[in-house]
Symmetry: D3
Subunit: 82 residues, 6 copies
């Protein structure tokens, strides 16, 4: 009876995609269900998986909206490599 909730930012990670694709979602569902089966012996039919997509404006990291924080990290990395 496990419930696995996967929260990700609403953005594409596959070429040309602007958000998580149906194929990626199916892979996340399959993988998470199999993980609970393999580690805890939970039957696949008693596992729920819920994927929550969150706008990047709505996700904060390092005190900033996600995209701004990524820019900050990138700038820091660039400065460190000079």
């Amino acid at each position: 009876m496990p419930i696995v909730t996967i929260q990700v930012t609403r953005e594409g990670t596959a070429p040309g995609a602007s958000s998580t694709t149906p194929e990626q979602k199916a892979a996340l569902i399959k993988g998470a269900s199999e993980l609970l089966r393999d580690v805890l012996g939970k039957p696949m039919e008693s596992t729920f998986v819920v994927i929550e997509e969150v706008d990047t404006d709505n996700w904060g990291w390092g005190g900033l909206p996600a995209l701004d924080y990524r820019k900050k990290l990138a700038a820091f990395a660039a400065a460190s490599s000079r």
Copy 2:
């Protein structure tokens, strides 16, 4: 001060509806609040109810996206009744 969170797939269950209707949402809110009042004596005005609608692609069951799993269950049921 209870919080009741109701997660359902974004699909219609009323005739002609493609998702949960405002009337159904109001009934869920009323019913959940009354349940906490009747069982635990919690005043209605101190209970929050949050309804989260989840796209069917984003809900996994049996290792598959919800709609695919339902097809699998239906096919299994049909085969068993032959």
Copy 3:
């Protein structure tokens, strides 16, 4: 496939109880599952209910820990009724 999550403070509401009793939990589970069946037609066997009990220190309302806020409300009510 609904999931109903019920968050309540860890305190007794039944005589002599210091937290929600097993009987009350069973009544919450039954009531929540029947609510989803009656309003949205969801089969009982495909509904999960999760009850989360939260220490009163860990629940804030009105900017205060729950028990302190209740005292504030009670004092306010007493003052208003003089």
Copy 4:
């Protein structure tokens, strides 16, 4: 490694806005991250903040959808002040 989840109704509170503005979201993210830093010493870069916007139809209070309950409170307040 804290996670702060902020659930608010999807409505505007800034002049002319119909929902929480990007600037308000950034202020919520900054404030929540600083709160965990100042109270628990958690580094900003290890704090996630997730803002969930909920349609007003999907938020219940006092056994009613939010907007209906606000009307009820307003009517009550008006009646009490006569």
Copy 5:
């Protein structure tokens, strides 16, 4: 920046264990993080995994507390196989 929340009942699935063991928890954390890396390319160091253990009294399925529902399912299966 994904967050994976895994909710399971507080019971043992390994021999002699009364709840999920530290080794099983580490395997769930590793597996969930690798799943997000492999499917969505998310770096391991930006994925949080939170495991929530729920008392069996606090988990409802089929309108009953989990252990009662399992007994019901077992009795049904036994009756069907006669």
Copy 6:
């Protein structure tokens, strides 16, 4: 009507404390409620704050249980500073 959920690991950050102290919890509740008041104008009395404390075994980061990942980070930092 906001709900702010703060998830932190169950460990002490104040001298001699093994988990978040009541005073720290009260400060988190006050700060989170004031944040919603100051940014979105939400009245303090309509904001719930829920603090969830998670065992360090139950929190994963970088594919490892939290304490193991911290050791890994510390070792990496030490090696980089030689």
